[in-house]
């Protein structure tokens, strides 16, 4: 018995609304040796989280383990009673959830939540637990380790919270820690810090780990072995280097291929260079107006930019730098405090209400989170049909045909039209979201981080789609992202924002040599498929001090 974890022929089934049982994990077997970190990768819905959770003897509601065994240090979690499982959770196996922000109870202080495991299992006195927690905070290179625990979850940044949730998992000295996409929601500069912290703590404690992710480059930095999953089945298992360099399975190759940066080629035939949108000296923000007629929180400070017909503008910058605010201001959702906008040679009013219906139609915005941007109570058909009726007065058969065309355009099966958003995968939702914008037949689409939550294969597919549609419909995009490779792939010009200001405007040609120091830091933080990348990465400490946010 040398392996810490032995999963044999694991089957998990879920009961659907109609009472039907479907297998979501179809006989997976997997071993993890002591001190080894294994990554689970695969597209959304492939069963990564489900497998990870079975390691704790837990399945989500309406799901159950229907066969196989999950042995941890020789004990089978499947046959355990609920009480026995509870005894193992937190002490032997611990879990770092996908979204730390949601996993922390907002009403309790961080330190109390971090040491809760020790209280539940009565591992040590409270004082000692607190000291241990502070040590962990230090090991995870959190700022102010002595006092950060006294804060509430909303008082620390997303990256910090993600590390704090690791501390929460590590405090019970578990043998196995499960990380469920811990960095997906973070921007690249933060991601590096978090990855480094995880890696050093795991190594130091000799802890085994399961690392769930859709991002190969991230996985490459931390995992010893990679398991590629699809549809609840294992496609390929191998050491990290093997998988990266000698992938055998076609799906693995596809994943790898999607990761290859594909800079925007010159294949696009640009007919004109007329200005579509011009933004001058935009200032916008939140909160009550101050004496100088400007809002209290100024999220966008004096930004000017130009979008030309048939060309795309990328906006990048770290989380909170004002990208979304800028997008919302342009879309008329948030009225600007000063500055003006000209669209199609006409002045663009500050609010939606003052804009003409045509202006609204010609400029569409696609939001980052497809989950919240699609009304969960409406079918896909209704969602796509509404702009058709609203802008183009389409009804009946004509509308149906057009809906089908739109679904075809975004490569979604027509049968999806009767479903509701929660019955779609993340990538599908994002496509619906995008199809809705297309339905308006716009000239400009503002895309706010539309690929951030998607795995590389799906993200790449969406980028391809955008390009293809641009060719066919002569659209322009404003493309907002924290992910440089994506922006690179599609944009003609890139604006780098920092702290609400535009710090640099670059063309793809200058991409390799950005001028502004912040742009340099940002560009160098994008992970590479090389497993050695993280360890060998040397960032200018001066830059980190100025622009990092530990």
């Amino acid at each position: 018995m040398e392996n810490l974890v032995e999963i044999r022929d694991l089957k998990v089934e879920a009961t659907t609304d109609s009472g039907r049982c479907v297998d979501i994990i179809k006989g997976v077997s997997l071993d993890i040796a002591a001190g080894e970190i294994v990554a689970l990768i695969g597209e959304s819905g492939s069963g990564k989280t489900t497998i990870a959770l079975t390691l704790m003897g837990y399945t989500r509601s309406r799901c159950r383990i229907s066969g196989g065994s999950v042995r941890i240090a020789g004990k089978d979690m499947v046959t355990f009673s609920e009480r026995e499982r509870a005894g193992i959770r937190g002490t032997k196996v611990a879990y770092v959830p996908q979204s730390a922000a949601a996993a922390f109870n907002p009403t309790k202080r961080i330190i109390d939540q971090v040491i809760e495991v020790t209280r539940i299992h009565e591992l040590m006195p409270v004082e000692q637990a607190k000291e241990k927690a502070i040590e962990l905070f230090r090991a995870l290179s959190l700022p102010d380790p002595d006092t950060i625990g006294k804060r509430y979850p909303h008082q620390v940044s997303g990256g910090q919270l993600q590390r704090l949730s690791a501390a929460m998992a590590l405090i019970g000295a578990p043998k196995l820690v499960i990380f469920d996409e811990p960095t997906t929601a973070l921007d690249v500069t933060t991601q590096i810090e978090v990855l480094r912290a995880f890696k050093s703590v795991m190594k130091a404690g000799g802890i085994s780990g399961v690392y769930v992710s859709h991002d190969l480059a991230v996985v490459a930095q931390i995992a010893d072995r990679i398991v590629v999953l699809r549809n609840g089945e294992v496609q390929e298992v191998g050491t990290t280097t093997d998988i990266l360099s000698r992938a055998r399975h076609p799906y693995t190759r596809q994943l790898l291929a999607a990761f290859e940066p594909r800079p925007r080629g010159d294949e696009i035939v640009v007919t004109g260079r007329e200005v579509l949108l011009e933004v001058n000296g935009l200032v916008a923000g939140y909160g009550p107006l101050q004496a100088d007629q400007l809002p209290l929180i100024r999220a966008v400070k004096d930004v000017s930019l130009t979008v030309r017909k048939g060309r795309n503008l990328g906006i990048i910058g770290e989380s909170g730098c004002g990208k979304s605010t800028l997008a919302r201001t342009i879309a008329g959702i948030l009225p600007p405090s000063t500055g003006n906008m000209i669209f199609e040679n006409r002045k663009l009013a500050g609010t939606v209400r003052q804009r003409s219906r045509d202006q609204l139609r010609e400029m569409q915005i696609v939001f980052q989170y497809a989950d919240t941007a699609l009304n969960p109570e409406k079918s896909i058909e209704e969602i796509l049909g509404r702009p058709l009726t609203f802008y183009h007065g389409m009804k009946g058969k004509k509308r149906d045909t057009r809906i089908e065309q739109l679904l075809d355009m975004v490569h979604l099966p027509r049968s999806l039209r009767h479903r509701r958003p929660q019955e779609l995968s993340g990538g599908q939702k994002q496509r619906v979201n995008f199809a809705r914008a297309l339905a308006a037949e716009p000239k400009l689409i503002i895309c706010d981080e539309i690929t951030s939550a998607l795995d590389t294969v799906v993200a790449a597919a969406i980028i391809d789609l955008l390009k293809e549609l641009q060719r066919d419909l002569s659209l322009s995009y404003i493309f907002i992202s924290h992910d440089l490779s994506v922006v690179e792939a599609i944009c003609d010009e890139i604006v780098v924002m920092y702290g609400g200001r535009k710090v640099e405007e670059i063309t793809p040609a200058d991409l390799k040599a950005p001028q502004h120091p912040y742009s340099k830091l940002l560009f160098s933080s994008v992970p590479k498929l090389d497993p050695q990348w993280l360890d060998s990465l040397k960032l200018d400490p001066e830059l980190i001090r100025t622009y990092g946010h530990g």
Binding site: A86, A94, P97, A102, N105, T107, K108, I120
Partner: protein, 316 residues
């Protein structure tokens, strides 16, 4: 307490003043719509035109109603609730003792009903979908749908008339010991609990169930926390907002909505006082009672909001 909460209280006070003003105008118009005035009502069958005219002038009811109302409003600004038309006693004196009674009944009922409702609501949520949960749901609805006067009358019949355990009347002022207090208040409190508990139970259950599906509850489960710990430490603190709101709404009923219980147990509270005021068109009395109900309601709602804010560090 943070600045935010203080600001909130200040704003609420301002809004409360405004709301009170709206209420007093609404009450004034409603009263003005009622047929008859104090003089005709007091004289009742003896209301001949001369008698009415005489009494009116004697009671200074000759001035137009709106003038009297504005005068009352002016008095209120200086803390004077006015004088009852009917018996020339200052309204403050009429209300005084009865207000204390009402608050005492409301307080005792709250002490009893709130923990009961919370326990039932929370346990029902804990065993959601079980037989226990269903029984609690059906019972609460069943219990509130029986008219109050029926519950109260049945309780009196059983406990006072047949068993002779408890007094049929609840004169608040006879109380000298705790035991007596329990005896005197037992039945009104039970009857009122029947009425107010249901809404609290349902809201508590719904709020707890809502939080039970959050990721942090799942996290707690994956830390190995027991069910009670999950509910009490993780779900409940986050469900406080809607729960205190439901409690506030239910308790506001106890301030002004208990006419029937007051009638059946002959309990001298302000709800009955206001009914009397309406019956005799005693404007200062009606207005003052309405103000009390309004202040009670607003303070409960505001208190609920403040508790909800204090319970949520994000808003603190």
């Amino acid at each position: 307490m943070s600045r935010y909460v203080l600001d909130l209280i200040a704003v609420r006070l301002l809004i409360a003043a405004l709301t009170l003003l709206i209420v007093s105008f609404a009450v004034f118009f409603a009263t003005a719509m009622l047929p008859g005035d104090t003089a005709t009502i007091l004289l009742g069958q003896a209301a001949t035109p001369e008698a009415i005219a005489g009494l009116r002038s004697a009671m200074h009811l000759d001035d137009p109603a709106y003038l009297r109302f504005l005068r009352w409003l002016g008095g209120l600004a200086s803390g004077d609730l006015g004088t009852s038309y009917v018996n020339n006693v200052p309204v403050a004196q009429l209300i005084g003792g009865r207000f204390v009674n009402t608050m005492r009944l409301a307080g005792i009922t709250a002490m009893f009903a709130v923990p009961l409702a919370l326990t039932l609501g929370i346990t029902a949520a804990m065993f959601r979908g079980s037989l226990y949960d269903r029984s609690v749901t059906i019972l609460t609805i069943g219990v509130i749908s029986i008219p109050e006067f029926m519950v109260a009358t049945a309780a009196v019949l059983v406990f006072s008339v047949y068993l002779k355990w408890l007094p049929a009347l609840s004169f608040a002022n006879d109380v000298t010991s705790v035991w007596q207090l329990l005896k005197v208040y037992a039945m009104p409190v039970i009857s009122l609990t029947f009425v107010v508990a249901a809404q609290m139970i349902r809201m508590t259950r719904a709020a707890v169930i809502d939080t039970l599906s959050t990721p942090y509850v799942e996290t707690a489960l994956l830390k190995g926390a027991s069910r009670p710990r999950i509910i009490l430490r993780h779900a409940l603190p986050n469900a406080v907002g809607p729960i205190v709101n439901a409690i506030a709404l239910s308790l506001s009923y106890l301030v002004g909505g208990v006419i029937i219980v007051e009638t059946i147990f002959n309990y001298p509270g302000i709800a009955k006082l206001m009914v009397d005021g309406v019956a005799t068109r005693d404007l200062p009395l009606i207005q003052s009672c309405a103000m009390i109900f309004c202040v009670g309601y607003l303070s409960l709602i505001t208190l609920a909001d403040i508790v909800a804010i204090l319970a949520n560090p994000r808003l603190r």
